[in-house]
């Protein structure tokens, strides 16, 4: 079974540009999550989709970030315009519900560098 995949693995952009990150969850997982780790800090929750609906977007830092999950399959996270402080590693995770021992499966992350 394929795991969670993310694309690209690394992106370097200039301040003010736009970047779109993609996440493909494990097939059949309705729940999809985005997290971010800024250098030296915690991995922080950004938002949670259940199928195509945003269940919780309380962690989105500001309106420069837009997440979508059309059709309830893959998700994209767009940053527009990118700022220096957006640099970090963006993780995607997916999970299957209901699940007694519930587990989120993480992708390898996209390393975003804004210069």
């Amino acid at each position: 079974e394929a795991g969670v995949t993310q694309f690209p693995s690394h992106s370097v952009i200039e301040k003010g540009q736009t970047v779109t990150l993609r996440c493909d969850p494990i097939s059949g997982h309705d729940n999809l999550y985005w997290y971010r780790r800024v250098m030296g800090k915690e991995i922080k929750f950004l938002l949670h989709f259940v199928k195509e609906s945003k269940q919780d977007e309380s962690g989105m830092p500001n309106n420069r970030f837009l997440a979508e999950r059309t059709g309830g399959t893959y998700s994209t996270l767009k940053v527009q315009p990118a700022e220096l402080e957006d640099s970090g590693v963006y993780f995607c995770a997916s999970s299957l519900r209901p699940a007694l021992t519930y587990e989120q499966y993480f992708g390898p992350g996209t390393r975003l560098t804004v210069t």
Binding site: I43, D56, A99, F106
Partner: protein, 115 residues
């Protein structure tokens, strides 16, 4: 606000030695997780601890949970170089109807085992 604190944040140790990573969290949570991350790779789930007094072991790693003290430990026995990685502790955060809507992470412990 639920917070997770790990210590130490960096640990360099000799092969063959034992050591413990500590994880404290601030409020009640149903589940505590330990993850391992190798550079450029996904977060790998090591343990999910569900109840007070839970102890799980996998090879040279053993995790325990004390929900009264809000403390989990990850104990490394007779460390080997292959265990070098970053280890994250994390707990669930309840966000309404969905009990599994986000995970709160610690900053991670970067473990470097010297041959």
């Amino acid at each position: 606000e639920l917070k997770v604190e790990q210590n130490p944040l960096f640990l360099s140790m000799q092969e063959g030695k034992n050591y413990t990573i500590y994880c404290n969290y601030s409020t009640t949570s149903d589940r505590l997780y330990w993850y391992r991350q190798d550079p450029g790779k996904s977060l790998e789930s090591l343990f999910v601890l569900l109840s007070n007094g839970a102890v799980k072991q996998e090879g040279r790693l053993m995790a325990s949970l004390d929900t009264k003290a809000r403390l989990s430990t990850l104990h490394i026995t007779a460390a080997v170089h292959d265990l070098s990685a970053t280890y994250f502790c994390a707990v669930d955060s309840f966000g309404g109807v969905n009990r599994d809507d986000k995970i709160i992470f610690g900053k991670g412990t970067r473990l470097h085992i010297l041959p």
